[in-house]
């Protein structure tokens, strides 16, 4: 039994990586009161940029991820200019960004349709990977999975333990007050949006250079939207976000195995399962409206001009 479970659980960690990066980035953005619905678009731009950089240089994910991050952040700046500098409607700007990202990535991706990349080999961490059961699940992974642990720890620590984290939360609650005590609200929000874009870009680049190392049009397949939903249902808390991401990862891997075992269920249904399961579970977890209200950044989605 265990020997069947280990590959499933190990695969879960990898499948969750795109949601972790994209979700943590969106979480930081939303903490400052900005909702960027362009995550799906930024992921796709990051995916094609990462894939192109990896394919052209031959260095794989090591160059693909930074390239994806840069491309994602640059895409996010389009959103930031309209939604923050011009105080346009954030929902509309975000939706437009997603549509733009889908189109742009498909256009650039035409040159790369026949390419494939080598992918990444797992790195076994000495000693830790010898622990029975847990070792092969947690410590025989590619380095991006380890990076996702670090990203979670870094974001969680910054949000709860540092002045910057406090400031992000404060701006999300009342940009007017933050402005009146002298903080550059727009600049800080720009920074948070750029971070969100970079993280979405990394998530996309992971998909195209590591997870399925080839370019397929629209390959993020709605994960950007799941990331946005995760942030809300996780009530803007990183630990809950991780939970949601792993749940999504686990169901994704499970349905692959189910397809392999020839379970008589339409493939389309199985493919939809991770999305349905994640949303259902998270809705149940967050059905306490008070918790949601207490953590909701009060200025979320409201334009602010000093």
């Amino acid at each position: 039994m265990i020997e069947h479970l280990i590959p499933i659980l190990a695969g879960t960690l990898g499948a969750a990586v795109p949601l972790i990066f994209a979700g943590l980035g969106e979480l930081v953005t939303e903490r400052t009161g900005v909702i960027n619905l362009g995550v799906e678009g930024m992921m796709l731009v990051g995916a094609i940029a990462g894939f192109a950089a990896a394919a052209e240089t031959g260095h794989g994910a090591a160059i693909g991820l930074p390239a994806g991050a840069l491309a994602g952040a640059a895409t996010a700046m389009i959103f930031a200019f309209f939604a923050l500098s011009l105080a346009a409607n954030q929902a509309a700007c975000g939706l437009a960004l997603t549509i733009f990202g889908i189109g742009l990535s498909a256009f650039i991706g035409q040159h790369y349709i026949s390419y494939s990349l080598p992918g990444l080999k797992p790195i076994a961490i000495p000693l830790l990977s010898d622990i029975p059961v847990l070792g092969p699940i947690l410590f025989k992974q590619d380095w991006v999975v380890y990076l996702s642990f670090l990203a979670f720890a870094g974001v969680a620590w910054t949000l709860t333990k540092t002045r910057l984290g406090l400031l992000l939360k404060a701006i999300g609650e009342s940009p007017e007050s933050a402005h009146s005590i002298g903080y550059p609200v727009i600049s800080i929000r720009f920074g948070a949006v750029a971070f969100g874009g970079a993280m979405a870009g990394i998530a996309g680049a992971y998909l195209s250079t590591v997870y399925t190392p080839l370019w397929v049009q629209n390959m993020s397949a709605g994960r950007g939207w799941i990331a946005v939903a995760l942030v809300v249902f996780a009530s803007w808390k990183p630990a809950r976000l991780m939970l949601g991401a792993y749940l999504f990862g686990a169901v994704t891997i499970l349905q692959f195995h189910a397809q392999g075992l020839g379970i008589m269920v339409p493939v389309q249904f199985l493919a939809a399962l991770p999305y349905v399961a994640t949303i259902v579970v998270l809705v149940i977890i967050s059905r306490d409206r008070r918790v949601l209200q207490n953590n909701l950044p009060a200025s979320l989605g409201k334009p602010f001009l000093p």
């Binding site: 939360k169 009342s174 007050s177 933050a178 009146s180």
Partner: protein, 519 residues
């Protein structure tokens, strides 16, 4: 002896906005350790001037000297570095953070919350402003929030402290405490700029005063050597208007009675009403004192019919009306003037004629279900003339009116309905002295025609001017109403702190402080 160098000196400061000149050639100077008042009505340019000093607004011309050196302040952060602290009228605090976290956000020093928390405690106790650094701000009373603002400034060791209308939200006792703190600060060499329109406060606290009217300096005075009348003349350019309250000679009978009203709050931070009873009689004004957030919103929504109550809890002329909604109560002669003028008392983008229709549609403005706009327009025009609503007619949009003129229109619109009961919330909040006098007189005159009026107000002076009996709403409980003559500001202040039973005894003052701090 040489004259000391002023801490702050403003020379010929001018700030123009597209439609008005907010500050016109304003000069003032404040010495170290001086408490200097900036006195003026709403819209006189006080707030703009303070924003210029604090770097939130840039002046068009003029110079600013700090300790003898010319400075140009680009933003509030720079002002803080130069030793200027500001306590805002509308607090700039974050509700979901703790006291210590709020303070940490404005200090330019390494981030260490535990160390900061102990310093907050130390400083707050030194100045008699007890605070728990680990409380969430949303759980604090308004007075406590102001303490956070002040302590936050003090931790930056300011040389100049600006307070913008600091007492509008405090109980009389808390005002006395605040003044002690400010005098202590001044004796330590801190200069204080104190913005207010309350004459008695400035007379008891301030060494010098600069009086502004329409953006210009209209006088400089030593407040203690002036009379309220002479200060008022400088502030509003004429005598301070006084209200006249003739004795009501008609029959006295209870009209609106509330017995045992308890209500759970509708919002998360609301206040629960506990067993409230009151009676409003013909020909009198019942004043409800107390600081907002003690159940005022809940009581008003229960009386107006916006919140459902039990059938028999509220009665009009002996008949149960607790189950009726707002429209049904209006049909029975209860009118309501809410606190928020724009959005609740009136619809901002609609004309006054259409706004008249909102509550006066029963006055023959409908015919077979169709609106008779002509009638509405006549009604609005009559209201504008009768209640001296300036610069408006029936076609003016509600949004275009100043606070005072819009309030005159809303109150007038309700008075013209010839109600039996009138409920008014904060009748003169943010309204200038002249319009306030008109509004208060209008309420008194209406009551003397036999109408029962209930006024909820944060301004004690207002209630002492117009109310025949005063009750205090504190922490969701209502004290028994007593005739105005039996009360004074101190007694009411103690009740505001929630001490109905101890109002007569002196040790209550210290008890109030501890209770207030732990509330």
């Amino acid at each position: 002896m040489t004259t000391p160098v002023p801490r702050l000196e403003l020379l010929h400061v001018t700030k123009r906005y597209p439609t008005i000149v907010a500050n016109d050639d304003v000069s003032l100077s404040v010495l170290p350790g001086e408490i200097h008042a900036v006195l003026g009505e709403n819209g006189a340019g006080k707030s703009t001037l303070m924003k210029v000093i604090y770097g939130a607004v840039k002046a068009d011309s003029g110079t600013m000297m700090l300790d003898g050196h010319e400075v140009s302040i680009a933003n509030p952060a720079q002002a803080r570095r130069l030793g200027i602290g500001m306590v805002f009228q509308h607090f700039s605090l974050f509700e979901t953070l703790t006291v210590a976290e709020n303070i940490a956000l404005v200090l330019d020093e390494p981030f260490n919350l535990p160390a900061l928390a102990s310093r907050v405690k130390e400083v707050s106790e030194h100045y008699g402003l007890p605070l728990d650094p680990n409380r969430m701000v949303h759980s604090l009373s308004v007075g406590e929030r102001q303490r956070v603002e002040i302590v936050r400034c003090l931790l930056q060791k300011p040389k100049l402290l600006i307070l913008d209308e600091p007492t509008s939200v405090l109980t009389p006792q808390a005002v006395i405490k605040l003044f002690e703190t400010l005098r202590q600060l001044a004796s330590e060499g801190v200069s204080i700029l104190y913005i207010s329109h309350k004459l008695h406060e400035i007379q008891s606290l301030c060494d010098h005063a600069t009086i502004l009217r329409n953006g210009r300096v209209t006088g400089k005075a030593v407040p203690r050597e002036e009379t309220p009348a002479s200060l008022a003349r400088m502030m509003i350019g004429r005598e301070l208007p006084v209200c006249e309250a003739p004795i009501y000679e008609g029959e006295h009978r209870p009209v609106l009675t509330v017995r045992g009203l308890s209500l759970l709050p509708t919002s998360q931070f609301g206040t629960e009403l506990k067993d409230i009873s009151l009676t409003v009689n013909t020909g009198e004004i019942l004043g409800i004192a107390g600081i907002s957030g003690n159940g005022q919103a809940e009581l008003l929504s229960a009386l107006s019919g916006e919140a459902a109550t039990e059938r028999d809890v509220i009665r009009l002329n002996g008949k149960s009306i607790g189950h009726l909604d707002a429209g049904e109560r209006r049909a029975k002669g209860i009118v309501y003037v809410p606190e928020e003028r724009l959005g609740r008392g009136a619809v901002p983008p609609l004309s006054l004629g259409h706004n008249a229709l909102l509550t006066a549609h029963r006055q023959g403005m409908k015919n077979w279900g169709l609106v008779r706009y002509g009638k509405a327009r006549i009604y609005a025009d009559e209201c504008v003339n009768r209640f001296d609503v300036r610069g408006a007619d029936a076609s003016t949009n509600a949004r275009a009116l100043s606070g005072g003129n819009l309030q005159k229109f809303i109150v007038g619109r309700e008075i013209m309905l010839k109600p039996e009961v009138m409920i008014v919330a904060q009748p003169t909040w943010g309204v200038d002295v002249g319009a306030s006098a008109v509004l208060r007189q209008a309420l008194i005159d209406l009551s003397r025609t036999g109408v029962a009026i209930l006024v909820v107000s944060e301004e004690l002076e207002e209630l002492f001017e117009i109310a025949d009996r005063i009750a205090v709403l504190a922490q969701g409980r209502l004290s028994p109403a007593r005739p105005r003559g039996e009360l004074n500001a101190e007694k009411v202040g103690l009740q505001m702190a929630g001490l109905f039973d101890h109002a007569e005894t002196t040790p209550a003052a210290s008890m109030m402080e501890t209770k207030h701090a732990s509330a």
